[in-house]
Structure formats: C-alpha cells, structure tokens
C-alpha cells in the first residue's frame, strides 16, 4: 500500500470514469504533423508507417504527402493516408536480449524513436535517462492520474499490461535500477490484474495509490512511494525516484521489439457531452475534429473544448491535432463548464475548504486575499510559488473565487517552474 498524501479530492469514481471500457482504434484519412525543420520529404512523396519525415517526426500511416506549409515555429506536413498501414522497411528492432544491451544502446534506441514523456511532461525521455543514471533507486511507471474524465492511461494499461511491464524492465536496465513500480489507483481493475501478473517478479511490483486527485502529480507520486515530501522545486530523483508515464513505457517497448517509433497514442475523448467514456488509439497528427466525430453521438451541446483534463487542460479548437503529449479532448456542456463564469460575483467566505484540500499545505484563501490586495511579496512568503496548479481551490470554492487563476498569474510573473503533472 502506498502512503496517502495530504489534501486532494475524491472525484466521481464509477463505471464510466475508470478507463475500463473498450479501447477503440481510429485512423483518419488525413493527418497533420508538425516539424521543427529539415524536412526529409517533398510534396507528393509516398511515405510509409514509421518513416522519418523530419528529426524526431515520423509518419504514423502509409500514404502521400499532400501539403507542406510554414507555420509559426516550424513546418506542418499534411499526410493523406491510403489505409494500408504499410510499414517502413528501414525500421530496426533491437536484436539482442535485454540483459545483453548496454545503457547507451537502449538510450540510442529511445532517442531514435523520438519518444517524449507522454504524460504531458514533453521532455526527451532519452535525455531524462541520461540525466538520472546512477541517482535513482526506483523507476515508477505512472498510471495514477485521477483527473475527471481523463482515463487514457488506464485504458492503455489495461489493453497492454505486458508491454508496460516489459517497457518498465527496459527502463530498469537502462537506469541500472533494480526496483520498478507501477502506480495504479487502489481498487482498480488494473491494480488487481497487475498484482497478479507481477507476483512472481522480483523487480516489478504494484503501488496502489490513493484514488484522490492529484495522485498522478509527481510530488504526490513520490510521496505515495517514499512517504517523504519532495523539497520545493526539487527533482524527483532527489528522493531516488524517476517517473515515466505508462504510455511512455509502451512506446519504449514498441521501439525496442519492432523498431516502430512513437507514432500513435491513446487519447480520451470525453466530457459530459458524451454519455460514456471513449478511449481511442490514434495516430499522432489526427485532428481533434476527426477524433470527436469518431467518438459518436453527443448528448449535450458543448460550450467548451479542452485539450487535457477539466482542471489542468487548456481551451482548444477542433482544428488542433493530437501530439505526443495530448492526453484528452474534452467537450463540456453549459451545466459543467458554465460554473466557471456564473453571474455570482466571486467572494471568499473563509469556509476553509481550499485549506483542507490543498495538497501543498497552503492557505489558498489567504494567498488569494493577499494577491487581491496587491501584497505580492507577502503572498510569496505565504507559499504562493509552491502552488502546483492542481486547481482544487478554485474547483471547491463555494464563493467561486478564482483562486488558482490569481496564483497562476502571480507564478507567471515570478517565472516559477511548472510542476509536471503526469496525469
């Protein structure tokens, strides 16, 4: 059992919010990829699944390059799929057994596959491994996220538990670490299944984490495993932990056994505009609009579209495309999202709910007052920069005070580093 962190909040936990439904597959006719530059293809060229298009960018489908256009910060490449899914012959799998692979070989393989942290942390996984070699004593595969609606990681884990376990073993080998832990919410179907699968494994075990949000936040994960609080701004490895998202483990496993680079991921299409949960394995570059069409009938009129969860996501449009770190596309109705701009003028009645639920032991109500009074230095002294932006204080506030919003504004002014949420 894991240590239970302070604060946090229990969201709805029923059949439609556990990621235990079917994992769907979808392949659009057309997808758009973004590259930094140095394109290796031209308009009209035939590309195959897994073929490099630019550095770190690969075609997720077989088809034709239909268009290349300049966009801010790089180039967009439109690929029209032929639906055949023919594999690029240049893909090379790892020919050696894992036990015979050197750290450099594994890192090289991961780097070639263009794998980034798929839980939203975006950094290169190969660089991360190189950074923490020799410093970690446990590697955590994270599937502990509890943000409402966002169940893509759980769906991916339930679909391919063996890939996760083997992907984690690759990480352990690369890091020279002997302990691997798969963090899953306690009582979930995955916790049961993985406990069964890992019971004879000396190296891999299951960490049944709290079902409270934000269990998937790296600071909560480290606490769940070690029982110790990470110092402010410290790297998880300072307490011996290195964390990778469950989908990152799967991508690493695929790169290892088939040479296939990171070209697809599991995304949740959800929100209260849909009746159930819909997790779908899609190629990188699929447009959000296509994804929503694939998810089927809506039961309510959406007023807000989010890239990410309802607490940490950002608004987006249907023309956006799935990237390697896209976890969820949510459509929220007036009933759910309308609460964020009601006609109630915000007020703090000092009920203390934000204090009770703050996972960082802050007093959000006090920081809110101080920021509103322009006393930013006092707000910082009260710990404002320790805020991890989980959003619970704004969510829970009966006076609908924009607590997280004001603190986020203060943090932005102070250039505080964002805390990675692996949800």
């Amino acid at each position: 059992m894991a240590y239970v962190f302070r604060g946090g909040i229990m969201f709805r936990d029923d059949k439609t919010s556990r990621g235990e439904g079917d994992l769907h597959r979808f392949e659009p006719k057309k997808l758009v990829l973004y590259a930094g530059g140095d394109l290796q293809v031209d308009v009209g060229a035939r590309v195959l699944r897994g073929q490099p298009i630019a550095k770190g960018v690969f075609s997720p489908v077989s088809g034709t390059v239909a268009d290349i256009a300049d966009v801010p910060g790089g180039t967009s490449v439109t690929v029209e799929s032929d639906g055949e899914g023919a594999l690029f012959p240049g893909l090379v799998k790892m020919h050696k057994k894992l036990a015979e692979c050197s750290t450099e070989e594994i890192i090289g393989k991961i780097r070639d596959a263009g794998i980034v942290g798929m839980g939203g942390e975006t950094g290169s996984v190969a660089d991360r491994i190189a950074d923490v070699i020799g410093k970690a004593d446990v590697c955590i595969a994270d599937c502990a996220g509890r943000e409402p609606y966002v169940t893509c990681d759980m769906a991916a884990l339930l679909e391919r538990p063996a890939a996760v376990i083997n992907g984690l073993k690759i990480f352990l080998r690369a890091l020279g670490v002997r302990r691997g832990v798969i963090a899953v919410p306690e009582g979930s179907a995955a916790a049961k299944k993985l406990t069964e699968m890992t019971k004879n494994s000396g190296m891999i075990s299951v960490l049944a984490t709290s079902r409270k949000y934000p269990a998937g936040d790296e600071r909560r994960l480290v606490y769940s495993y070690t029982g110790r609080e990470l110092a402010h701004g410290a790297d998880t490895v300072s307490l011996g932990c290195v964390i990778f998202n469950i989908q990152t483990c799967i991508a690493v496993y695929d790169a290892f056994v088939s040479g296939l680079p990171c070209v697809s991921r599991v995304v949740t299409v959800g929100g209260d505009c849909f009746t159930g949960e819909y997790n779908v394995d899609v190629p990188i570059g699929t447009s959000f609009g296509d994804l929503i069409d694939a998810a089927g009938e809506m039961c309510a009129e959406p007023v807000l579209m989010l890239n990410g969860g309802p607490l940490r996501g950002i608004p987006c449009g249907a023309d956006g495309t799935v990237g390697k770190t896209t976890r969820a596309i949510l459509l929220l109705s007036e009933k759910t999202a309308g609460g964020s701009d009601t006609d109630i003028s915000p007020v703090c009645i000092r009920c203390g709910r934000c204090v009770t639920h703050c996972p960082e032991r802050l007093m959000p109500n006090r920081i809110y007052d101080l920021i509103r009074d322009g006393k930013t230095e006092e707000a910082v002294a009260a710990g404002a920069l320790h805020c991890v932006g989980c959003g619970i204080c704004s969510y829970i506030c009966p006076g609908k005070a924009p607590v997280t919003e004001l603190i986020a504004g203060l943090k932005a002014k102070n250039n505080s580093p964002e805390v990675t949420d692996h949800d």
């Binding site: 996501g313 990237g323 609460g339 703090c348 009645i349 000092r350 704004s394 969510y395 986020a408």
Partner: protein, 309 residues
C-alpha cells in the same frame, strides 16, 4: 518538442469546472438544519414566535437590500446569508421580547457588523450574535427570559426543570435555543453535508462539559454539567454561530483551539461574570482571535529548501 507543444505546456493551467456547492446552497443547508428547531419554537411558543422570526428575517433582508441599493452595490440577499442571520438572531430572543428588538437587532447586525465591514466574507464579528448583544445591552430586561435555568443555576441552586425537559426544550429561553436535541440533529445534518466542521462545536461543548464536571459549584457534578450543557444557548451558538465560516479559523487545529477558547470564555462568564449565559460574548471575543489562530496554525511552513532556486 515543437514550439506549438511548448506553447501548450507553458500555458496557464486553470480549472474549467466548479463544485456544485455555492454560498447560497450552503446557507440553504443551514436553513434546512434550523427547521426542526423552528417547528419546535412554533409548537412551544405559538404565533408570537412566528412574528418574532418573521420580523427579524424581514429586517435583516431589508437592511441588506437597502444598504446595497443606497451604496449602489449589487443586491446580495439572494445568497440567503441575510435570511440566516435574521433567523439565527430571532432564535436567541425569548418569546416575550418586544417586536422592536427583533427589528433593531438584525438591522444593527447587517448594517453595522456586516455591510459596513465590506459585506459577506469581510466581517470580523458574527452578525447575529453582535446584533443580539446590541439589543441585550440596550434593553437587558426585554430580551431576558424569565426563569431561565442558567440564571437559577447562577444563584447556586438546581433549576426545577428536569434534564429531559432541557433536552427536548420544555424550558424558558430563546425561542430557538431551547430544543437541544433538535439543534443537535440540525448540526449533525450540517456536518454530514460538509457545511460546518465538527471540530468547533465539539471542542466548544466538550470544554464546557469537562470543566463543569470538574468544577460543579457545590452542586452534584453530573446534574450541574447537564444543566450547563442543555439549558441556555450553548448548542445553538456552538453549532450555528461559532461555526460561521467568515469569523472562525480555517485550519483544523485553529478550529479546535477556537472552540476550546469559546468554551473557556463562556465558563469564565458563567462562573464569574454578570451574564448567566455568556456564549455570545465568548464567541465574539474568540472571533477576534481568528486571524491570529489562522496565522499560528498555518499548515505551510517555509523551509530552508525554498531558497534553493
């Protein structure tokens, strides 16, 4: 990582969903919790109790509306907090109180104690209790119940009423404060609904229980404790006034200390003071400690590591 992804990851993350609870829903829950005691008040004291409650509530609501109107502010009575203030105030009045007290008390509570300090969330004293203390100081005999068991107890004798009568509310006192059992039921409802924290009433009533048991004033300890707990306004004020979120601490430990301070001050007044009850003065004094209690019990403590980056 492309710039597009970098932009997405550096954007400000803020929640787009909100909990269903609002100030109004919390105040509505408080009103629901007061219904049993309200019914008992009507049952025991009749139509006169209804007029006291009605005048108080109307006075509170009209005062707030008028203040908002004349100061050109948004009318805020729809959050029901003025209704709660008016009703709670009326619960403290005995049935013999003249109706002008029911008019003046809530007006003072809303205009001076609440609105003049900036409206809901900004007042430092509990409005209903301050309003009651105001009329009590202005018209002491008019708002004191004849034969109040606590007044008898203060003379060093046990009151005639049995503990059972005190539990159900067959005693003289404020119209809404006598039915201890029904007030407790309302409090349990509020704790279950998460509107109030159990810590304040538990620490408050617990302190009174322990101290009165230890120092029974030359009377049988258990009877003395029973009378101190079950008569007077202890349950009403401990459950509904001391837990006023605006004027009580936000931290768990702060709330325990706050409740204990309320209990000790109440007893100080009951043992040595001029008033037989004392809960109103005790809570108002403790209200003034709220800011301090929040500071000294703040859960966040900056550590040396903070300077690391």
């Amino acid at each position: 990582m492309t710039d597009r992804e970098a932009m997405a990851s550096s954007a400000v993350h803020t929640p787009y969903v909100r909990h269903a609870d609002t100030v109004r829903s919390m105040m509505f829950d408080v009103l629901i919790a007061l219904i049993p005691a309200l019914i008992w008040a009507v049952h025991s004291f009749g139509a006169r109790a209804v007029s006291i409650m009605a005048v108080s509530v109307v006075s509170a609501v009209l005062s707030e509306t008028a203040f908002n109107f004349f100061t050109k502010r948004r009318v805020t009575v729809d959050d029901l907090s003025a209704v709660v203030t008016g009703l709670l105030f009326s619960f403290l009045l005995p049935v013999t109180s003249p109706l002008y007290t029911a008019l003046l008390g809530p007006a003072f509570a809303i205009l001076i104690v609440k609105c003049a300090f900036g409206g809901i969330g900004s007042n430092i004293l509990n409005p209903a209790l301050t309003g009651f203390v105001f009329v009590k100081l202005c018209f002491p005999s008019a708002v004191t119940a004849a034969g109040d068991p606590l007044a008898v107890l203060k003379t060093g004798e046990l009151p005639d009423a049995s503990l059972f009568d005190m539990l159900v509310g067959n005693i003289p006192g404020g119209i809404g404060e006598v039915s201890t059992l029904l007030l407790f039921a309302g409090g349990a409802y509020l704790v279950v609904r998460g509107v109030i924290d159990w810590r304040i009433p538990t620490a408050f009533i617990g302190t009174v229980a322990v101290v009165t048991l230890l120092f029974p004033n030359n009377i049988n300890g258990l009877s003395f404790m029973g009378c101190e707990l079950l008569s007077g306004s202890l349950f009403l004020t401990a459950i509904f006034m001391a837990t006023d979120p605006v004027t009580s601490p936000v931290t768990g430990i702060g709330r325990l200390i706050f409740g204990a301070v309320c209990g000790l001050l109440t007893l100080l007044i009951r043992y040595f003071g001029f008033d037989a009850d004392g809960t109103a003065y005790a809570i108002l004094t403790a209200n003034l400690l709220t800011g301090l209690l929040d500071r000294v019990t703040a859960p966040f403590v900056a550590t040396a590591n903070d300077d690391a980056r």
